[in-house]
Symmetry: C2
Amino acid sequence: MVWATGFIPQLRDRWVEADSMVCVGWDPELAKFPEHLRGLPVGEALKVFFEAIIDACAPYVCAFKPQIAHFAALGAEDVLLDLIAYSQSKYPSIPVILDSKRGDIGSTAAQYASEAFDRYHADAVTVNPYLGFDGVEPFLAHADRGVIVLCRTSNPSAGDFQDLEVDGVPLYQRVASQVASWDVGRQCALVVGATWASQLASVRALVGDMPLLVPGVGAQGGSASDVVRAGRDSCGYGLIINSSRGVLYASSGEDFASAAASVARELRDEIRAVK
Amino acid sequence: MVWATGFIPQLRDRWVEADSMVCVGWDPELAKFPEHLRGLPVGEALKVFFEAIIDACAPYVCAFKPQIAHFAALGAEDVLLDLIAYSQSKYPSIPVILDSKRGDIGSTAAQYASEAFDRYHADAVTVNPYLGFDGVEPFLAHADRGVIVLCRTSNPSAGDFQDLEVDGVPLYQRVASQVASWDVGRQCALVVGATWASQLASVRALVGDMPLLVPGVGAQGGSASDVVRAGRDSCGYGLIINSSRGVLYASSGEDFASAAASVARELRDEIRAVK
């Protein structure tokens, strides 16, 4: 059997292999870490915490999604790099999505693409569309990597600009259609929040079977079953349903990793059960 | 005399003190570095190059603008931190703008604000508006710092989304008006590219004397005199006119710093001469 290479084929294989559309985000907040880790140096605490999370949650996920802001605020880029390598070497079938939401003019976007793909060796990266096509193109130049473009986000103010009507269509739908037209190499996905299922359905109708990364389940309040019904693709998969805080901080005791795994498994099962 | 504190007052004082609206960007591209520095370890080359650029250009600038992507791609965050500290301690009247164009949901935006202001001690940061107000608010919570929001960028594809008409008004003008309405603390500025002077004039008409950061002069081709005529404020200042590559790589010889200073001085003089 010949396996296709690249982020999207890897993701499609993993959806089936794990029968899971759950993604666990890595958003370190030291104040929420288990008490027995709080006395450690920051880098050591991050390493112990996330290696345990990765090992415990791996059976239940289709992807991991480190959020770079949380590592950058701590000056912990080297730890992030080590954790991505740890996950990829131990669980090579699980793609790692660097959630950095970068966006800049072409020559600078090329540097951000290098940050994500050459430095961190991420399998995919999140990108902001506000700069237009030439801000996204340098990421697409890395042909085997995934480029996940913000479309409709899950935060309360998302509608300030994303919902504005352009020729009778909300801007986020215009973004979805544009990204679909850019995606000649089948590398793209979109970020569409879980907050309103009808928006997810409208994006799904525009982009065929393009994968959708869905934040906002769990701590942010979206319902997993609504998300699946509105957003799954023609194969019954098609979604990367992310939970970060709800999984990571399920327990502040020494059982944090097994508690996280339980939440991830329950979310996987809730998604699986949707008919 | 009591001096107001914070980025905007510092910038206004510096415009007058230096009689300059020139900003020099720090966009390291090692392949363009002077030949005698190319054999050095990366961190050392960055330090020698930019300390010389800072010292040579300081008399002619109203601000410095490090572009974080270029440092991140090299894994050189620590060097960036040292260079910002070098500039601020030696030239405390010159604000340093961290050009990182971050944008995320509120809890993550707070981490990016911490990255910019607590870790790098930047005086101001560039931010992407696509997430809406709650993606910008955590930056504004740092009351003495500047928040420079992308409005109309200078790249060829900028119009893909920024020029789309919403109720008869291009999206970038809607962004300008919204940012003006958010700016109760007088901390905001806007990024408006130099490519089309008429766009700059339309934004100036919407935002009063709010400072405008203008990339796209020099290597990207915009005319400084057109920019000044279209964009200056009621005091004759109001602009942060950035040039990066045109200044930094004016010479690849041992005279790189004096060549950079000449270009910065000429740009300052060209801007000063506009009636």
